[in-house]
Every structure is written in structure tokens, then in C-alpha cells.
Amino acid sequence: MKAVFKTDPGKLREHNEDNGGIFRKSPYILAVIADGMGGHQAGDVASKLALEKINECWNQFDVEEDDAAIIRWLENTVTVANAYIFGEASKHPEYKGMGTTLVAALCNTEEVIVVNVGDSRCYLMHDQEALKQITEDHSLVNELVKAGQITKEYADVHPKKNIITKALGIASEPDCDIQRFRWVKGDRLLLCSDGLSDMVSEEAIMSVFSNVDSLDEKASQLVTKANNAGGNDNISLTIVEYDDGESL
């Protein structure tokens, strides 16, 4: 498996409130994207704290554990990160109200377990089939679409598309979705912040995946495309490719 992480402040914003990373421990890869929120200083703090805690938990991650324990580890990691951010936000008035989205995918050669809070996304691309969004956005517009109040097309240009309904660090207990699915050689996983998914269409993402060889180049081109489309927000992504190579 190969993986790459890229982040870019975009064109409009002075700060990069996104964070993310790739953690490796054979035969597992953990890919993470976090998109912070909370005004001037706190947004980048929240996403950074999330990554710090994930890193700590990763050090204790035991690859020998059984399935149930691994899911428990993932849930526990989210709980720990949530509690930490929530605690810091209540301790420091300047961090009040901060929070972050989180999407993380734990992959081995058989399956992927994805945990998600907020509107950062995880996509799966199988063979040359269309990009499939695995995660469900925890956002107001998505709720409105689900309730039949607005169309999917209007959701894309909705003035309140930035309103999310769940986030890490805003309550004492996190509320996350966990799902797992099998994957096979040739599959690719894309995790990204809304700075990419709002700016670049799924078709354009697919075309980059199909036409560009190097993994690093794929990531760079996606960032460039988001910036060319305006770069309104921070852009972050990780790609995990299940290839023929060594498991790491």
C-alpha cells in the first residue's frame, strides 16, 4: 500500500486550519484528515490537537489485536481526541467553541475502517468505476437534502453549506459514524477536507486518478485544481493506494 498526504492553505485564507497525516504500522496504514473551526486562532489548534492525540493512541495501537479490539481502539481514539479538545476549549477562553471535523481510515490488505465526524469526506474508487462517497456529511445542507427540502444541486451552492451539525471537541461525548468495508488490489481511497470536495467535481477527481501515474503527482494536481477553482478554503487530502507493492 502506498499513501500520500498533502495540505495547502488555498488562496483566500491566511491560515491553514486543516491538519492530517499518515501513520504506518505493518500491516496497517491510518490516514487522517481534520478540518478545524472556531475563528481566528482556535481552528488550527483544534485540528492540531486531534492529530496529536491520534498519534499518541497510534503508538499504543497493537496490530495483533482482533477485529473487535481494533474497532474499539478507533472509537477510543476518537473519544480521547474529543475529550482533549473539549477540555482545552473549556480551559482557555480564546479557544472557546473550537472544534474540528475528522475523517480517518484504518486500512490493511483486506479491509478499511472509516470513522467520520463533520463534513470531511472519504471516497473509494474501485477499478475505473465512479468515485463513491463512503462518508455521510454531517452538515445542514445534507440534512436538508435528506429531508427533501432542497436539491443536491442547490446544496452545492447553498449559502449555509459551511454549517456542520457534528464536530469533534464541541461536546463532552463525540458522535461519530464508523463503517467498514472490504477492498481489493487496485482500489484507492481519498480522504479530503471540503476545501477539495467543494472546489473540484467528482469527475475531475476521477480523471486525475485515472490519468496520472505517480501518487504524489495525483495529490499535487488535485490541490492545483482546487486552487485554480478559487482556493476558497484550506485544501487537504490523503490518498491510500492498494497496489502490488509491499504492505508498507
Binding site: E94, K96, G99, T101, L144, A167
Partner: protein, 675 residues
């Protein structure tokens, strides 16, 4: 922040409010020597230039408004990177607290309050300012029920372009209009909707839509019909219910055309003619006709309600505060003035004909004793005697609604239709309960004036999340209004993480120890422990902290796992017997603890013969020796040698015995041969 001086002029006294964008403090204006409220933008927004511009522009627009029911803005400024708005200080609570304490609010009081709110919003709308965030938390009310609406247009800042792309978490949606929930721009109609929600809440004591998340509430605004207010409180007049229905129409086009139309409707809602007004529920279809039918009636109603004023005791309060809201710019003002004048003239003529002669022949009545009764009872008794009741409410230790004094006193003779002034208790003066949550218990104990309250209870509970000594919760809750002398203040503080016993897991398997410790509330890490003769390999040798001691809930317990029996070097003593005479040797394998010296065998031979000398050489190899010589000597009778051997795990030892140069024994002993 407390004690700080802003711009050399405003000295911060205390913190009074806390919003998502700003913190509000009570301050002293040192130049004008008056209190003011100063709203300071949160630091995280003060770096966003576009946001600041928006904030200032809105504040300036609101500052241009001047209305008795809109909080006055005195000053807008900045100092270094502090951006602030200085406002009129209102000594009161929010309408939210008022609703909590008094809802369902009686129709007369509710209309009195609602008209002020409507009038404030109406004026802002005339200046093109949409409030966008009408909710009881943004409406202040003093103890005379005077209302001030605050935070006009400030919510606009949140949708400024630079912020739009940042994620933000969805806030409360209780007062959001369906079109705002759908993401459309807030308009005049959105304020009308929010006003309708406030009205619903005042009259019924509950919110029309609630749910476990802001999203579910927003979706209800879009999809669900409200429970008709009269189903919740039968005292609500149909006219008031109809106003709510119309304000809360899902379709903005079917709501009131403007706040001033709503205001007019509200103004006549209590008039007797509208007592039996038909319900306009269901909202749709029937609507337009209904409005048409209602409007021609309106003129009449105005007239009649004015005529009634003198006999409506509750209107006296309204007069005190002035009818200024009612005088607000109406389009048909001229028409009305003419009509009023003719009515007044007509009334005077009627009075001249009917009333004046009556005065000339009035009966005397004795004022009954009403002190101590409830206001309703008192009013009934006085009106039975054809006396006119004038009510004034004051704070008093007597309970709410009780008449505490009357003027004239009972027994005095007065003319019929004279006024009797009653002082009615509003109950004891309440104080706003301070916010103690988050404070340190020892500081609070020092500072709190325990005599102010009936009692102060401190309750310690363990918590792994909240630092020791920090106050977690309080009753009554902060901001609520209570009579301190009747109130027991309960402060619950954290005693730090719960201490729990570490269970005894010694000898348990790894898995079962993990389960026991996790069930007890600990985190577990495993570590390699020592060898143990008693605990099998992989089982628990000991824990740190050890069992029997206590540790914080959630603490990590290190579990040391046994490495099993230690593989130590073993020692054995080989007994080697070398016989003389019959030249046989005999060995005994035993672990006697005798010295490693030579020992005379007990089995002394009975040989009387003097035997020949025999030379004995013994070589040995063990952990410490490599082909070393143990013995080289001559013996003349059978002798037992005790050869000590040390063998490392997995290894072996051997020795060779030579008798007169001839190898008579070569033996190997393996580690495992030894017990």
C-alpha cells in the same frame, strides 16, 4: 478584564453576558458617570478585517436608530485590537428568564410586552435593518415590564463572506424561520416569524418546535405544523392565536405584510369585539379571505377600545409607559385623527347627556376591606360596589398578587365610581443568581456572602474530566431570578477523579486481568515482569499500583506478567566412589549438601590387609570449569569423592575418573537430568 479601563473612559465592572461573537460587560462611563454595557468582540474575530468592517457598519446603522424599545448605542470604538460597542445599561433580565419565571404570561401582560417588541422591530425595518436573530435572549425586560430589544443586525456579521467558507457548528434553531433554515436570506418576514415564536412561547410557556439537535428543530420549522396555542392554554384568546398562526405561516408571503400590520392587529387583539373571532386555522387557503373580512372591522375596534380605556384597569399600566408605540407612523394616520376627533366630540356629547347628570345624583358607598385579598378578589368586590380599581404593583414580601394596601381605607364612604388605589405585591424582589460554574470552590467560599442566601450547600462529586475544586453545576441556575432569602444555593464541585480500589488480579491470565481492571475503570498496559516459581509464564505477577491500593478512575495500571520459572544454573554434587582392593568403582548421583571436600566413606572395608596405593585423577568440565583437575592423589582404601557441578540452562557437565592412569568412568550430566 474586570477593572480594566477601555479608552480611558469605560471601567469594566463585571461580566454580564457571553455570546458566540462577543462578551458583554457592565462598565462605568467615567466621563458621564453612568453605567453602560460594553460589548467586546471576541479576539478570534478581531483579526478578520472584513468581519470588523461589517461589525462596525451594522453597529453604526443600529446606532442611528432611536426608539424607547431599542437598546441605545452610545459609542463604537477600538483600542489596540479590542473592538467594542458601548450601549445603554439595562437593569433587568432577558425575556427568556421572564418567560421561564412567568409563562404562560396572561394575555394583557403578554400583549403589553409584545407590542413593545413589535414596535422596536417595526422601526428598525423602516430603516432597512433586519434583526435576523429575534429571540427572548436578545430582549431585555426590567421590573416595570419595559422592553428593550438588543443585538440588531449583529447576526449579519456571521454570514460575512470571509467566514462563509469556514466550517462552523450549527447553533440553536428554535427561532429560525423556514426560509432561513433552508438557507435563504433573512428578510423582514423572517423577523416576523421569529416574533411569532416568541409570542407562542410567552403565551404557552413552551417552544413550538424542539428536538434533540438543532437540525431536527430546523427540519420541524420546515415540515411540522405547530400545536395550536389554545390546545396548550385555553386562556389564550382566539385573536391572539390567530396572530400567531399568521406570523408563523411557513410561506413568507402568507405572513403579515409588515411588522406594522402585525402591530395593529396586536393592538386590537384584546378588544371585546374580537373575543369570539373565528380561528384562522388551518393556515393555508382560507387565509386571504380572512384578512379581508378582518380589516374593515379594525377601524371600529380601535374606536371602541379607546372608549373603553377608562374602565379597563389593566390599561392604566399601558398609559404610564405612554402610548408612543401606538403613535408610530401609520399610513392612514390622517384618516384616523379625523375619526378620533369626531369620536371624542361624540363621546363628550354623550357624556354631557348621560354621565354628568349621573354625577349629580351619585350614591355613596362604603369602601370594603380588600387588603390581604388577591387582586382578582379585590377587584371583584370593589367593582360590585361600582368602584374603579387602580392597580400598582410593587415588590413586597407578601406573595404574588396579594393586595398589600388600599387607598381609601376600608370603611370610608366615597361616591360611586371613585377610584380605589391598590398596591399589589409582585412578590419579594428577586436577584439574579450569579454564575459560579467553572469557578474554584475555595475562592467561591471566600467570596460568597453566605448570609445573603437561606443556605449554601457545597456538594463534592468525583469527576475525571473536571479539575479538582472546580464547580461543575449549580442550582438555581445562573441568570435565574430568585429571592435570595428563600433560596438554598447548591454548588456541586469536582473532588477530582474518583478513587477506586485496584482489584487483585495476581495469578490471573492476561485476558482476565485486563477485563477485571477495565471493568473496575482503569486503563491497562502490560509489561514484562520477573521470573516466578509460583506464577506461570504469561500470568499476572503484580500490578502497579498494587492491588489493595487505590488509584484514580481512568488511571493506567501497569500489569507485570510473569516470565515463568527462571532458568537458573543448577548445581549438583556427584558422589564418586573409588574402591581399592577389588578395583571397582561405584557412583552415586545425589545432591547431598556436604562440603565439597573429601569425605571418608562410612563403608569402611573390613580389609585387614594393607592394600596397595592407587592413584586417582578426576577431571571435570562444568559452567565454571573447563577440563579442570578435581583430584590427583593416592588412596589406599576405598574413598568417596563429592564433586560439585554447576550447569547452565540447556548446557551439560561431564567428568572423567582415572585410576592409575586408566579411564574408569566418563559421565555426562545434562541440565534437564537434574531435578
Amino acid at each position: 478584564m474586570i477593572g480594566k479601563r477601555i479608552n480611558g473612559r469605560y471601567k469594566i465592572i463585571s461580566r454580564i453576558g457571553d455570546g458566540g461573537m462577543a462578551v458583554v460587560y457592565k462598565a462605568q462611563d467615567l466621563i458621564l458617570d453612568r453605567y453602560c454595557a460594553i460589548k467586546i468582540l471576541r479576539q478570534q474575530f478581531s483579526m478578520d478585517d472584513a468581519f470588523i468592517r461589517r461589525f462596525r457598519r451594522e453597529a453604526e446603522a443600529v446606532a442611528s436608530l432611536s426608539h424607547p424599545n431599542i437598546v441605545n448605542i452610545y459609542d463604537i470604538g477600538e483600542e489596540e485590537d479590542l473592538y467594542y460597542i458601548v450601549m445603554e445599561y439595562i437593569d433587568g433580565t432577558t425575556l427568556k428568564t421572564y418567560i421561564k419565571n412567568f409563562a404562560p404570561v396572561p394575555p394583557e401582560n403578554a400583549v403589553f410586552v409584545l407590542k413593545q417588541i413589535a414596535s422596536a422591530i417595526e422601526q428598525a425595518h423602516q430603516y432597512g435593518i433586519i434583526h435576523r436573530d429575534i429571540k427572548p435572549q436578545n430582549i431585555l425586560i426590567d421590573d416595570q415590564d419595559h422592553v428593550k430589544v438588543t443585538d440588531f443586525g449583529i447576526a449579519m456579521g456571521l454570514t460575512s463572506t470571509t467566514i462563509t467558507y469556514t466550517n462552523s457548528i450549527m447553533g440553536s434553531a428554535h427561532y429560525i424561520s423556514p426560509e432561513q433554515a433552508r438557507g435563504e436570506k433573512a428578510t423582514v418576514k423572517s423577523d416576523i416569524y421569529a416574533f411569532g415564536i416568541v409570542m407562542y412561547e410567552m403565551l404557552t410557556g413552551q417552544l413550538p418546535f424542539s428536538g434533540d439537535s438543532p437540525v431536527s428543530v430546523a427540519l420541524k420549522h420546515l415540515n411540522d405544523e405547530i400545536i395550536p396555542p389554545r390546545d396548550l392554554n385555553a386562556d389564550i384568546l382566539p385573536s391572539l392565536e390567530n396572530i400567531i398562526f399568521k406570523a408563523l405561516d411557513k410561506n413568507p408571503d402568507d405572513r403579515y405584510e409588515s411588522m406594522s400590520v402585525l402591530y395593529d392587529d396586536l393592538s386590537t387583539a384584546l378588544s371585546p369585539e374580537r373575543m369570539n373571532e373565528p380561528s384562522i386555522m388551518p393556515f393555508k387557503e382560507a387565509d386571504p379571505d380572512q384578512t379581508l373580512i378582518m380589516s374593515p372591522l379594525k377601524e371600529n375596534k380601535d374606536v371602541l377600545s379607546i372608549d373603553d380605556t377608562s374602565s379597563e384597569p389593566d390599561n392604566s399600566e399601558e398609559q404610564k409607559t405612554g402610548n408612543s408605540p401606538a403613535k408610530k407612523g401609520k399610513k392612514n394616520r390622517k384618516k384616523r385623527v379625523i375619526m378620533w376627533i369626531s369620536i371624542v366630540i361624540l363621546a363628550l356629547i354623550v357624556a354631557a347627556i348621560i354621565v354628568i347628570p349621573k354625577w349629580l345624583q351619585v350614591d355613596n358607598v362604603q369602601v370594603p376591606k380588600v387588603k390581604g385579598l388577591t387582586y382578582e378578589q379585590a377587584k371583584e368586590r370593589l367593582e360590585d360596589k361600582n368602584l374603579i380599581v387602580k392597580k400598582k404593583v410593587v415588590y413586597d414580601d407578601a406573595s404574588l398578587g396579594v393586595v398589600i394596601s388600599q387607598d381609601p381605607l376600608s370603611g370610608i364612604e366615597v361616591k360611586e365610581h371613585s377610584k380605589v388605589h391598590l398596591l399589589v405585591s409582585k412578590g419579594p424582589k428577586k436577584a439574579v443568581i450569579q454564575d459560579y460554574v467553572g469557578d474554584d470552590i475555595s475562592t467561591v467560599k471566600e467570596l460568597i456572602n453566605a448570609n445573603k442566601y437561606k443556605d449554601v450547600n457545597y456538594i463534592g462529586v468525583s469527576s475525571s474530566k473536571i479539575p479538582k475544586g472546580q464547580i461543575i453545576s449549580q442550582t438555581p441556575e445562573a441568570g435565574s431570578k430568585k429571592v435570595p432569602k428563600n433560596t438554598v444555593l447548591k454548588l456541586t464541585y469536582s473532588t477530582g477523579p474518583k478513587q477506586i480500589d485496584v482489584p487483585n488480579v495476581q495469578g490471573d491470565s492476561k485476558g482476565s486481568a485486563e477485563i477485571s481492571l477495565e471493568n473496575a475503570g482503569f486503563e491497562v498496559v502490560f509489561a514484562e515482569g520477573d521470573y516466578s516459581d509460583n506464577v506461570p509464564e504469561g500470568s499476572v505477577l503484580k500490578t502497579d499500583p498494587s492491588s489493595g491500593s487505590q488509584a484514580e478512575e481512568g488511571a493506567t495500571i501497569t500489569v507485570y506478567l510473569s516470565k515463568g520459572k527462571e532458568e537458573r544454573p543448577k548445581t549438583t554434587v556427584e558422589q564418586i566412589t573409588v574402591t581399592v582392593n577389588n578395583t571397582t568403582t561405584q557412583t552415586n548421583n545425589g545432591s547431598t549438601d556436604g562440603d565439597n571436600g573429601e569425605q571418608q566413606a562410612n563403608q569402611t572395608s573390613n580389609n585387614e590387609n594393607v592394600s596397595q596405593q592407587v592413584n586417582v585423577v578426576i577431571y571435570y568440565t562444568d559452567a565454571k570449569h573447563d577440563h579442570a583437575q578435581f583430584v590427583n592423589g593416592s588412596i589406599s582404601k576405598t574413598k568417596v569423592y563429592n564433586l560439585p557441578l554447576t550447569i547452565d540452562p540447556g548446557s551439560k557437565a561431564n567428568y572423567q575418573v582415572y585410576k592409575d592412569g586408566q579411564l574408569i568412568q566418563d559421565k555426562t550430566i545434562r541440565y534437564n537430568d537434574i531435578d
